[in-house]
Subunit: 259 residues, 3 copies
């Protein structure tokens, strides 16, 4: 019932894999590649042309690549000239501007707004309504929670554009603003509703407005169990590549043994 090809437009210059499903009212522009088993739900735009499309008669749409098994939920708009690895998924009404690179198995929540010119590793999970400014660089296994904003202009308005950098396994809690060019290390936890203007070293918990170092995340105990919860990969594995084998074994197999 959902994929009944009502009011769908697929460019003859798009490349559509096997078992791809495209929902009603969706548009697939020129030079989009959808690999096998991709699902595009209703009312999506994939490969939205860049702004000179509207003014330049010789405009040619740059390529957009969506890896196998991706699930793009309804009302999502993805601009041209980006690449999304295997297993990519979005919630509803996500906007992703041009020149964005996402690794494997990334997820982006409803209404999130990726401003383009960004780089994400593998298994990054963005919850609802996250805003990532241009020139942000995010590692692997990074989780970003609702209403977090990554900024890039230290003296607004200026011509400077320097986004934050976030290391592998770090967590940015709800409602936090990361200021331009801040470097967050690996395995950090950034507390809710923080304003982060200084760099954080590996394993630091920083929080507050303005954000300060609170403690080492490994000293933080779970209220429920009384035990350490961080590094979190020892206690959370749903959907992660160490599911069923454990983080220690996975680290050895994947070159993370020194982390």
């Amino acid at each position: 019932m959902k994929f009944n090809n009502r009011n769908v437009f697929i460019s003859p210059k798009a490349t559509i894999g096997k078992n791809v499903r495209i929902g009603d009212n969706s548009v697939i522009y020129d030079n989009v590649v959808l690999e096998d088993n991709v699902t595009i739900c209703n009312d999506c735009v994939i490969g939205e042309p860049l702004s000179n499309y509207y003014t330049d008669d010789s405009y040619e749409n740059p390529p957009t690549f969506i890896g196998k098994n991706a699930m793009i939920r309804s009302h999502t708009i993805i601009y041209a000239n980006s690449t999304f690895g295997e297993g990519f998924s979005t919630g509803h009404r996500v906007t992703i501007r041009e020149n964005s690179t996402f690794g494997k198995f990334c997820r982006i929540g409803t209404v999130s707004d990726i401003q383009g010119f960004v780089e994400f590793g593998d298994y990054c999970w963005l919850h609802s309504n996250v805003h990532i400014g241009q020139q942000s660089k995010i590692g692997n296994y990074v989780f970003i929670y609702p209403y977090v904003v990554f900024t890039n202009d230290p003296h607004p308005p200026s011509m400077i554009c320097k986004g934050p950098t976030i290391g592998d396994f770090s967590q940015v809690a709800v409602g936090t603003v990361i200021l331009p060019s801040v470097n967050i290390g690996k395995h950090c936890l950034i507390g809710a509703q923080s304003l982060v203007g200084k760099d954080a070293e590996d394993y630091q918990l920083v929080a507050g407005n303005p954000a300060k170092l609170i403690k080492d995340v490994r000293e933080l105990k779970s209220k429920e169990t009384g035990n350490s919860h961080y590094p979190w990969p020892y206690h959370f594995e749903r959907g992660m590549p160490w599911e069923n084998i454990g983080f220690d074994k996975w680290k050895i197999e994947n070159g993370y043994e020194n982390d």
Copy 2:
């Protein structure tokens, strides 16, 4: 002009009451019930199937019930398996996930995102861009203002999911984050841009980052009148069931005399 049945899809398994209007490009899925006088504006999805719809050939859509006189504004997405009482209304681009229960005369503002598995009483008004995490439980006559977020994971990421609880008549001001499993009493006022990690007793004003008890709301004077504004139902009645009869009379008639 608006309800001209262009590009509308209504499942033959949906139940449509009298005088129901459905806007262009909208989709009504299987097992949706729209009671009399419901208005669904353009580009809506009602009864969005759950995720196993995409993978399970024997999927059957669970029921979705929208009570009489509801007004669902354009671009709203409502998942299956939820119930909405009489007089429910939404702004534009609202997303409501599965297993949500709303009482009578609730309103949800533009772009708000209800993550599902939540329970709302009657006459709850959510303004624009409110985010309600799973397992939240909200009483009656609760108002939630823009960019408020209700969270549920105390140690992200974990498998724990414990949302906040909010008592009748409480108000949560703009930009505030309520942390997991926090209990807010009745007639509370939570100040703007707060980070609320502790419970609040009935009639408390709490505010700040981190939020602290400021005073009893009954001690708070209106800048305009110099008089107490709280409990607010004595001073605000538009759209409330005590409109024209006053809060005291209504309380007696409705079993709230001890509040």
Copy 3:
């Protein structure tokens, strides 16, 4: 390819200028005027009827005016009874309620929500996900960054509606809440993640939760250059009317010599 008139509805009572382009699935309601060279992208609603449209059989749609060269990106909803000057543009999924006035060359970012009954001068740039409450009044050359909220009810809920006022050239940084009836002067800078409850004089930098006066913006040095960055029009001219001639010359020519 984009403007191929699939599933477009244009009221016979709308007035469409020369070289206007209207995207797929878009609706242009009664009494909308689109001046020459306006571009409306896909899935937009222009001139959305006011709420009594749904209940009043004699409803007549008030006029909506969109000036020449405007660019309205996809999924934007603009209510009737508003006016937009030359060169107006929006990102995606913008919502603009009725009785809004925008001067020339204003820009509104993706997902922003303008609640109506507001007044903007010329060259105002709103970034993504800005929320402007009713009765706000914004000057010229004002920039507002993501997740900023302008509020208007000092004692929620009440029948009072008094929005903030912002002077020319002021900047409101990311994640900030401006409380009701606050007056911000000219050339101010409001820091990120602030809660602003007090007025700010011209040239003040205010920041924090609650926001306090930090210093005169002219004392603020750029980390990159070591020089003053504010007043910013001396250092930023892209898209501004003083581009290529400089702010001093432009001020003299435009009656701003005393600012």
